[in-house]
């Protein structure tokens, strides 16, 4: 397959032979070059593709596959990167897809480990679960906003669209610029589960597609209110206490803070071999420290 374009190129080179007077740049000749270039471009992915396959075959054991929550994904990638640099020859593939997809993949055995940012439901309890970290969801406002505390009920009513004005929270009259995440996002899923229950988030809420984008807007808008992963709160925004408790590292770890979710890895059976070694690495002090520097709270 891969020598087919090469033949083509050779054929095209033949086109350039006839000794045409160089004063007349021949269009055919230019076309030939152009075609040769095109064929090269077409051949490149095929070539690279075969290289990739061979690379895979050379690895001794089969690559470890982790699929699931997009909230866990960046952390899992970081862990895998460090682990792979320490264990040359081991390959770990980290894929997204969402918590439910990850749990399903683990049940089916399509992935060695599923990553989930939500708790397992009753039907999924047969899976072997390994908690790897805590993540708080912080409710954030602009630093100039005097608001310091919200009850869970107030938070629910705000996101439900029942409270739409800061006046209802005892602040000066101004509409609340409500910011949520897109449908399907792990953070939104957890927020809905922890705060909203069965109630839908108001369709009037602004929607941003990342924690960073939500933070950016809240940092610039004195009337905004949004939620992001607690590890990503910085000095440009202010985290509000929920039911009087701030999302600090200790409160998240002790679960005094209400909006906390666990990051889980799940497998069909208790992990063995390479898998066990990788989980050991995640739960080791080095792995946990890595997660903490990335903004999570370790389980150990």
């Amino acid at each position: 397959m891969s020598n087919f374009p090469a033949k083509k190129i050779a054929a095209l080179k033949r086109l350039q032979w006839p000794g045409l007077p160089s004063a007349f740049p021949c269009p055919v000749l230019r076309l030939g070059k152009l075609l040769a270039l095109m064929c090269l471009f077409l051949a490149l992915p095929i070539f690279l593709g075969t290289m990739g396959c061979r690379g895979k075959a050379e690895t001794l054991s089969h690559p470890l596959c982790i699929a699931g929550s997009t909230s866990v994904q960046p952390f899992a990638e970081k862990l895998a990167e460090v682990y792979m640099s320490q264990h040359p020859g081991v390959r770990i593939d980290v894929q997204g897809g969402g918590s439910s997809a990850g749990i399903f993949a683990a049940q089916q055995g399509a992935a060695d480990l599923g990553a989930s940012s939500r708790e397992l439901v009753q039907a999924e309890k047969a899976l072997h679960e390994i908690p790897i970290a805590w993540d708080g969801i912080a409710v954030i406002v602009h630093p100039s906003n005097p608001l310091t505390n919200l009850t869970l009920e107030q938070l629910r009513q705000i996101f439900q669209g029942k409270i739409t004005n800061w006046r209802d929270l005892g602040l000066p009259h101004h509409a609340i610029d409500l910011i949520s995440r897109e449908e399907g996002s792990g953070t939104r899923e957890a927020f809905e589960h922890l705060v909203m229950g069965k109630i839908e988030v108001s369709p009037g809420a602004l929607v941003q597609d990342s924690n960073g984008a939500v933070r950016e807007i809240v940092a610039g808008d004195p009337h905004a209110l949004g939620y992001i992963s607690a590890g990503l709160v910085d000095e440009r925004v202010k985290a509000v206490a929920v039911d009087g408790i701030l999302p600090t590292r200790e409160n998240i770890k002790s679960q005094k803070y209400k909006l906390v979710r666990r990051f889980l890895l799940v497998g069909r059976a208790a992990p063995t071999g390479q898998c066990l070694d990788f989980i050991g690495f995640i739960l080791s002090s080095q792995g946990q420290r890595l997660l903490e520097t990335e903004g999570l709270v370790g389980v150990k």
């Binding site: 055919v28 997009t70 897109e182 399907g184 597609d209 807007i217």
Partner: protein, 279 residues
């Protein structure tokens, strides 16, 4: 084999492959999206504004309206500006100035849309929030950014249409005693009208299809906007926002959104082609 023939055949094959990719994309979008439209009911899908795909509600009514409103806003801002620019450059400026300004304006088309979006977020959104109210991320912000983005399309096609009008028309009009402005308004513009309408429609196509810049400045709320300061979500933003996580029916719903978008853009492009061909 004759080398001319050979090159011709290879070129034909390449041309065919680009067309077949279009066909494949179309078939794929329809295969993925149509089942959901049939399940939800076409009317429900198009008219309902209840969009909660993970809970089984698929209504893109608000997004269709938002898409059209954003496009309309972009037209209101972009068409007068672009047309004025085209008339000045084609009729009232020296060839040197035109030779310099036209390529410069076309450079606008080369700026990546994410840059427009970024400028919008950094500069336009706070302006709207501070001076007009609302969250800033709004229908207005999206319309302004898109209005600027479609300028190069409108200007360069309009200039081509205006310069294609034979000079005999202008000379005849001037000879009859019309002023230059009367000549432009009564003679040149009507003669170039089909080209200008094409320019406007192609600009519209660009505005409907633009995604990145719109996601960044439009706020993406699912509700029908009550004012131009309200956040909106367009069809393209909806697909791009949620595709990353979508699975199963949710994914199908996004493809179905793509079908609606596809049809809208096809109608725009077809009408542009028909209008150009009529003359």
């Amino acid at each position: 084999m004759d080398k001319g023939k050979f090159v011709e055949r290879v070129l034909f094959l390449l041309a065919l492959s680009s067309i077949s990719s279009l066909v494949i994309i179309t078939v794929f979008i329809f295969l993925e999206g149509l089942p959901l439209i049939f399940q939800t009911g076409f009317k429900n899908f198009i008219l309902s504004s209840h969009w909660a795909p993970t809970k089984g509600h698929f209504g893109i009514g608000a997004m269709i309206v938002s898409s059209l409103l954003v496009t309309l806003g972009a037209m209101v801002l972009g068409v007068p500006l672009g047309l004025a620019c085209a008339i000045i450059l084609a009729e009232f400026s020296s060839p040197q100035l035109r030779g310099f300004l036209k390529p410069t304006l076309e450079l606008l088309a080369g700026i990546p849309s994410v840059v427009y979006g970024f400028l919008g977020v950094i500069w336009l959104v706070p302006l709207i929030r501070n001076y007009l109210g609302g969250p800033g991320l709004s229908l207005l912000a999206a319309a302004v950014i898109l209005g600027i983005m479609i300028l190069p399309t409108i200007i360069s096609i309009s200039i081509d249409a205006l310069t294609a009008v034979p000079d005999i028309y202008r000379d005849g009009s001037i000879a009859l005693g019309a002023t230059e402005w009367q000549t432009v308004r009564r003679v040149v513009l009507p003669a170039a009208s089909s080209g200008i309408i094409t320019a406007v429609i192609l600009g519209m196509g660009r505005a409907v299809g633009e995604t990145m810049a719109v996601i960044m400045v439009a706020g993406n709320a699912i509700k029908l906007p009550a004012s131009i300061l309200d956040p909106v979500r367009t069809l393209t933003s909806n697909i791009a926002l949620e595709l990353g996580y979508a699975a199963g029916r949710h994914r199908e719903a996004l493809f179905a959104t793509g079908i609606v978008l596809f049809v809208i853009i096809m109608i725009l492009n077809l009408s542009a082609t028909l209008i150009t061909r009529r003359r």
